[in-house]
């Protein structure tokens, strides 16, 4: 029985590049004064990776590069979505980042410096005060 590792290669590539992007987007958006520059870099990287996938002859490499390239392109879009999460208070704002400081200072801002997801589930709905208390205690 022949084994076809192409699916495993694809799954591993997707898992690892998405994990990398997941962490990198949050760290970069947290620190970057402007997000257009990292977005342009991710887009360029994505397009180059797709080109490489197009021209290589090796099928496993072609598959891995095709998936990695689309992930990089999506990371550029995720930078914009991450900024939206900051605005809604769904991700922690960085008060030392001028862009985030401006969002925090907006009238009726929902932004917060707390990471409200950084805790274990307790099994019941929480109000905003409890939500803050739970992550401070964690």
């Amino acid at each position: 029985m022949e084994i076809n590792v192409l699916g495993l290669v694809a799954a591993l590539t997707a898992f690892l590049t998405i994990w990398f992007g997941h962490v990198a987007v949050r760290k970069i958006e947290f620190a970057a004064p402007a997000i257009w520059l990292p977005a342009v870099i991710f887009t360029t990287l994505g397009l180059l990776t797709e080109y490489w996938s197009l021209v290589t002859e090796n099928l496993a490499l072609k598959t891995a590069l095709g998936i990695a390239g689309i992930t990089f392109l999506f990371d550029a879009f995720e930078l914009v979505r991450q900024q939206r999460r900051i605005r809604k208070g769904h991700a922690p704002a960085n008060p030392h980042n001028p862009r985030h400081a401006a969002i925090l200072a907006e009238p009726n801002s929902h932004a917060t410096t707390l990471d409200l997801l950084k805790r274990e589930p307790i099994g019941e709905p929480v109000n905003p005060d409890q939500a803050a208390q739970l992550v401070i205690e964690h």
Binding site: N4, A10, A64, L65, E120
Partner: protein
Amino acid sequence: MNTFGILIGILTLIIIGLGFPLVIQTERQLGYLWWPYMLGLGVLILIASLFIRNDWLCVIVGVIGGTFVWGSTELKEQAVRAELGWFPFNSNKVKPPFESIIRKWKAPHL
């Protein structure tokens, strides 16, 4: 020179996009404690992909397996999102088999 890799990249994006409702609904109906079952199912699907000769089908099944593995690591955070009111909270969840053992394990998160 062919577009196999690019098309697989786009297909992967679509399959992982379907992982979002999978995580949301699994957490809402069953709860995050089902994570070991989702992880195990993902690994089984991945192993099944090894025995598929057709390259397109092999990759699609492999990525579906990977999506289940990734989804299992998202369930805990999704449970917190529901508690925060960012998603509807369901208090009548289906308890998983071996719940007391699973509670002793730390749910994975990336």
